[in-house]
């Protein structure tokens, strides 16, 4: 007897059904259209890299989460862990062929051997936008305007873009004489401020610093008030880029109410050197949906060229979750907008109708079998197809067809050559 294999997928991975994919495609398409509108081009890098390319950068923690294996020739390979390291390798490898500054976006799956949880998968999508080869602050301004445009294009009513400067953080840390070797740990703790609150952060800081220093530090970075008030308060430590950046954002038309100066924001990763950003959606308990910043030396591992850049990563799966929770993805249909039913005697009319609709750019499909009409209707219903067209012998004889609008249950008989006009002009309220 033939044995049947259980149709299962590895832990932390997902199948996407058509009803999932139309939503994902809808969101991706909107995001991509903003990137393209800003003149960014797409690149791709292989899912597989040499393990040493990837492992070098992340240290022990990253190495534990990287999927590695030996190929048939005994070479040690790794699955892409993020898009930043492959991008650095890509820029180093193609440096002489790339126009500088180089603007690219990249959307691809990455793999991490992490413990799966809500919103955390072993295979998930990253969506990165970077400008490299310039240290102009205009690049920061453009990236932030692009972030705002993405959220607006996706119809988020509210979003907050927090920003800070690593230079400000460094100035504060040096003023308080916090030694270099503890700075990285201190920054990691400050990053948790929003998550765990002031008291717990102070507790953790006191393990590394004197009580007085810890309190002074926390007081310096956990400010409330307007951007200007915070800037005034930090005047002594403030690097000039903060106000220059705000001026540029203003000229770029970034909605001012969405921009929040957050002096405690650090973005843990130590390769950020200048401004850092983090965007979130109020009312959704998900953490940031987009984050990034300025780095001074993207390719140090792969190239003697010192390449500065600024970029952000959109958390595509988090954005999908947020939009689902806020009911922003209801009413998105599968691709077919029209089902042309099957009538044995008038099949050639049905074929002509479906051809004409497709030519007019209306996504349509033909029912393939001589089933009862009720069964054909049920199929349209199950796929959520909004229009059904019937052309029986009576209609065919007069060059007409019946169009049924499924949502309102109304049927109309109109000339076949006007079906596409009707469908293109149809206004759904």
């Amino acid at each position: 007897m033939k044995s049947i294999l259980e149709p299962q997928i590895p832990k932390g991975t997902r199948d996407f059904l058509p009803s999932d994919m139309v939503k994902r495609d809808y969101v991706l398409k909107k995001m991509k259209s903003v990137f393209v509108n800003y003149g960014y081009d797409a690149i791709e890098t292989p899912a597989l890299e040499y393990a040493k390319t990837i492992l070098e950068k992340y240290g022990d923690e990253g190495a534990k989460l990287t999927y590695t294996f030996k190929d048939h020739g005994g070479r040690l390979l790794a699955l892409r862990y993020d898009q930043t390291v492959p991008f650095a390798r890509f820029v180093a490898a193609n440096f002489h062929d790339l126009p500088m500054p180089f603007k690219r976006y990249q959307i691809s799956p990455v793999w991490r051997a992490d413990k799966p949880a809500r919103g955390r998968y072993r295979e998930f999508y990253q969506c990165d936008v970077d400008i490299v080869g310039t240290d102009s602050l205009l690049a920061e301004g453009e990236i932030v305007r692009l972030m705002a445009d993405v959220f607006q294009a996706l119809n988020f009513k509210q979003f907050v873009i927090k920003f800070n400067s690593r230079r400000l953080m460094n100035n504060v840390l040096s003023r308080l004489d916090i030694p270099r070797e503890t700075q990285v740990s201190v920054i990691r703790i400050l990053d948790k401020l929003e998550k765990i609150g002031k008291d717990d952060v102070l507790q953790l800081l006191k393990e590394l610093l004197s009580a007085k220093t810890a309190e002074l530090l926390l007081e310096s970075v956990s400010l409330t008030g307007t951007n200007e008030e915070k800037m005034k308060w930090l005047k002594k430590d403030l690097p000039p880029e903060i106000s220059e950046f705000l001026t540029i954002c203003n000229q770029f038309g970034v909605p001012q109410e969405a921009l929040v100066f957050e002096p405690s924001l650090a973005r843990g990763l130590d390769y950020y050197t200048g401004l850092v950003f983090e965007a979130s959606v109020p009312g959704i308990n998900l953490g940031p949906v987009c984050a990034g910043g300025r780095y001074d030396d993207l390719c140090s591992t792969f190239s003697p060229e010192k390449i500065s850049g600024v970029g952000v990563a959109f958390g595509f799966d988090r954005i999908m979750l947020a939009m689902e929770e806020l009911m922003m993805l209801v009413g998105i249909r599968l691709n077919s907008q029209v089902l042309v039913t099957y009538f044995e005697e008038t099949l050639e009319h049905s074929l002509k109708i479906v051809n004409d609709l497709r030519e007019a750019g209306i996504a349509s499909e033909l029912y393939f079998q001589p089933d009862r009409l009720s069964k054909q209707m049920k199929y349209a219903d199950k796929k959520g197809i909004p229009f059904v067209i019937l052309c029986g012998p009576d209609e065919a004889a007069k060059g007409e067809a019946v169009i049924k609008v499924m949502k309102i249950g109304k049927q109309k008989t109109i000339p076949q050559n006007q079906l596409s006009l009707y469908l293109m002009g149809y206004h759904e309220s």
């Binding site: 309102i408 109304k410 109309k412 109109i414 006007q418 006009l421 002009g425 149809y426 206004h427 309220s429």
Partner: protein, 202 residues
Amino acid sequence: MKPTNPLRIAVQSNGRLSEPSREYLRSLGLQFNLNGRTLITPCENYKLDILHLRDDDIPEYVSREVADFGIVGENVVREKESRVRIVKRLGFGFCKLVIAVPEGSPIQSVNDLEGERIATTYPHVLAGFFRENRINAAIIPIEGSVEIAPSLNLADAICDLTQTGKTLKENHLVPLMTIMESEAVLIESMISRHEKLEFLKL
């Protein structure tokens, strides 16, 4: 001929608002001589050029600041959805945008429009009306002679401008409802200039 004055106003070159628009400008004390087919008329006693344009183009010209002001039907302003400001309603060029159906049509109320075909030269205004009234229907955009659409089985109803209702009647159409009351309006671009403020004091 090139415009030479610092201020420009666009008016309809040839249509139902042309003559009343010129009369309105004269009523402000402006003097000008219409010279045959010239499309730009300078005022003799004010630093203003009058541009004679197709009315459909006026909102766009004003929003792009090619002209500082324009005189045009409110119906056109609404349909073009251009970024302009309505300064004032001018009290002439009254008309209505109505939905009309053939005599004896089963369509007798707004809700009967559900799923039907409505031919119009005002697809944006009509779509807004449908949105507000939660009507699902097919808008058939055509450029002119809308009244003929039902008799050609191109549409079940029409949405068109009417002043006296005469054309509707001649085509055996009955008005069902008015979706917009319109008159000529003075519009201006969104930027402010002191020359504009001076003109508005006339």
